[in-house]
């Protein structure tokens, strides 16, 4: 009996370490994947961008030479070329020549926006090779990103949501639902101020012509992965430490996305919301396995949250401290 207990605890220890190792490899692999994408994008796109730039410069010189006899169709043609180029993120303005759209940090930024499906569109792959690679890269990369985010969010939620709620519940004996609601609202406020208001203030200082509302708008459009691309930071003409700035923004976007998902999951775990969500789903008379398959949805926030909830119920069996509560909680995805 004692032997078997010790054995099981040993196994449990190994299991937990293995999970940590796997997680470490996952993080490393994810970072490597981002860097790899940045390298390929950079090497594929930089020559083409250079070509386009030279072409534009030549066009402009010719235009300046013969502007005395300028006529409407010529002007229209010129404008067409300028806009086509600006659509791809190349500017003909002379003071814009310092910034490359496809240097390494920008390509990294681009890769991260592709994988999070934000897609600002301020820089896009120009060559056919770049487009084909973009498709392949995101076919592999987006599910990978989802997997990564799921793993991270699952771990963060345990420490940020489950533990504190349980602690308050046990220590002071508040009702669990009340604690959960108060905690969710507080977490929401903290996250909004940390990932929306503070960055918005920072952006409105760093970017020349953004006011606070525009910065806040940018933060929201980015973290909701809409990514309209009408405001993109780091595109000004005279910015110092542009590389550092771009990397900082990339980190901010990833962290912000994780924070958003954690908040979302915290809210999704609220009992009232769960009941509300259940209203829309099909009544289940299948066994648990099928329910798991059916509930997951690709490419959406809820897939991550559902997945994480399912995983956590599994993992909770391994935590002796949490075990008494698991029966109360584990009714989440399956109860009718």
């Amino acid at each position: 009996m004692l032997q078997s207990l010790a054995g099981s605890s040993c196994v449990r220890l190994v299991e937990r370490h293995r999970s940590a190792w796997c997680f470490g490899f996952l993080v490393l692999g994810y970072l490597l994947y981002l860097v790899f994408g940045a390298v390929v994008f950079s090497s594929v796109e930089l020559p083409y961008e250079d070509l386009l730039r030279q072409e534009l410069r030549k066009l402009k010189r010719r235009f300046l030479e013969e502007h005395e006899c300028l006529s409407e169709p010529q002007l229209e043609q010129f404008l067409g070329r300028v806009l086509e180029a600006s659509n791809y993120g190349v500017s003909v303005l002379s003071n814009a020549s310092g910034n490359w759209n496809w240097d390494f940090t920008s390509a990294l930024f681009f890769a991260s926006t592709v994988l999070s499906t934000t897609g600002y569109g301020h820089t896009v792959p120009l060559s056919d090779g770049g487009k084909a690679f973009c498709i392949v890269y995101s076919v592999i990369g987006i599910p990978f990103t989802l997997l990564f985010l799921t793993a991270v969010v699952q771990r963060v939620t345990i420490h940020v949501t489950r533990r504190p709620v349980l602690y308050f519940h046990i220590r002071w004996g508040f009702s669990k639902q009340l604690v959960a609601i108060v905690h969710a609202v507080l977490l929401g406020f903290v996250t909004v101020s940390c990932f929306f208001f503070i960055p918005a203030a920072v952006f409105s200082i760093l970017e020349d012509d953004w006011n606070f509302l525009e910065s806040f708008y940018f933060c929201f459009i980015s973290l909701s992965t809409i990514g309209l691309g009408d405001y993109v930071p780091g595109e000004g003409y005279n910015q110092k430490f542009r590389e550092l700035y771009k990397i900082g923004i990339t980190c901010y976007l990833l962290l912000g996305l994780i924070a958003m998902l954690v908040v979302l999951e915290t809210f999704c775990e609220l009992h009232e919301l769960k009941k509300f969500r259940k209203m829309f789903y099909v009544k289940k008379d299948k066994d648990e396995d099928q329910v798991h398959i059916i509930e997951h949805d690709q490419l959406s926030f809820s897939s991550i949250t559902d997945q994480a909830a399912g995983m956590k119920d599994d993992q909770k069996q391994n935590e002796p401290f949490v075990t008494p509560q698991s029966s109360a909680q584990s009714d989440s995805p399956t109860s009718p």
């Binding site: 499906t117 600002y120 459009i221 990514g227 099909v282 099928q290 798991h292 690709q298 809820s302 997945q307």
Partner: protein, 294 residues
Amino acid sequence: MPHAGLCSCWGGRVLPLLLAYVCYLLLGATVFQLLEKQAEAHSRDQFQFEKLRFLENYTCLDQRALEQFVQVIMEAWVKGVNPKGNSTNPSNWDFGSSFFFAGTVVTTIGYGNLAPSTEAGQVFCVFYALVGIPLNVVFLNHLGTGLRGHLATLERWEDQPRRSQLLQILGLALFLTLGTLVILVFPPMVFSHVEGWSFGEGFYFAFITLSTIGFGDYVVGTDPSKHYISVYRSLAAIWILLGLAWLALVLPLAPLLLHRCSQLWLLSRGFGLKEGGAPKTDGLHRPQKIPISA
């Protein structure tokens, strides 16, 4: 019996949801149109004025004047004004386009060729997305779940003869192929024909759209020199929603189908039902992880 439950559910819950969803899209389109149209007209007029003045004194044109002019053009371009052609171009914020924009916001595609430029429009966009994105997720989720629930009735296969199994899997394959053809392959061909893109570009556009990345380098219905039918962009928005729902259905199904095929292959190789049944429970556990990594 699960059939009946499903049907009542479809009638009772989905219809109001669908209605609310469509109404929400229409509301968004209307409000965006109201907020943005005037600003767009103003910006367009200003741009036309700039252009005329440029044409007036281009004989004494120098570098700086040109630079300033180009800068103005770029700013106009960012705001969605196309300076080519004349001022009678169709508006960027007419109803069809507003609808298209609302669709791209709630699905988080966000092309960015249209973006609200007034403060009010930006604020509204934030709140619109705040409600619209979860709604969109619930909607697509439900659509996928319902269709997949239909297909899950195929789970009870053990008590059926092998021939009908084969028929069913053939039917399923036909359904999936046809759906993919109609929803994922055919529309990009139409788009590339209408817009004058190559098929590769059309496919790239479809992929960037349905993966909700949405760069906005290729967007349907933006060429000012073409005459589109008036509902073209709305049809495009509906295609996007259909495509997303189809993907939500198909992507989690793929591992299940693969497993089924391998099981059928095993059966046809002459293994007994008992042996074929054993890996089934195994395989049903596995897709829990696969849908997110596949």
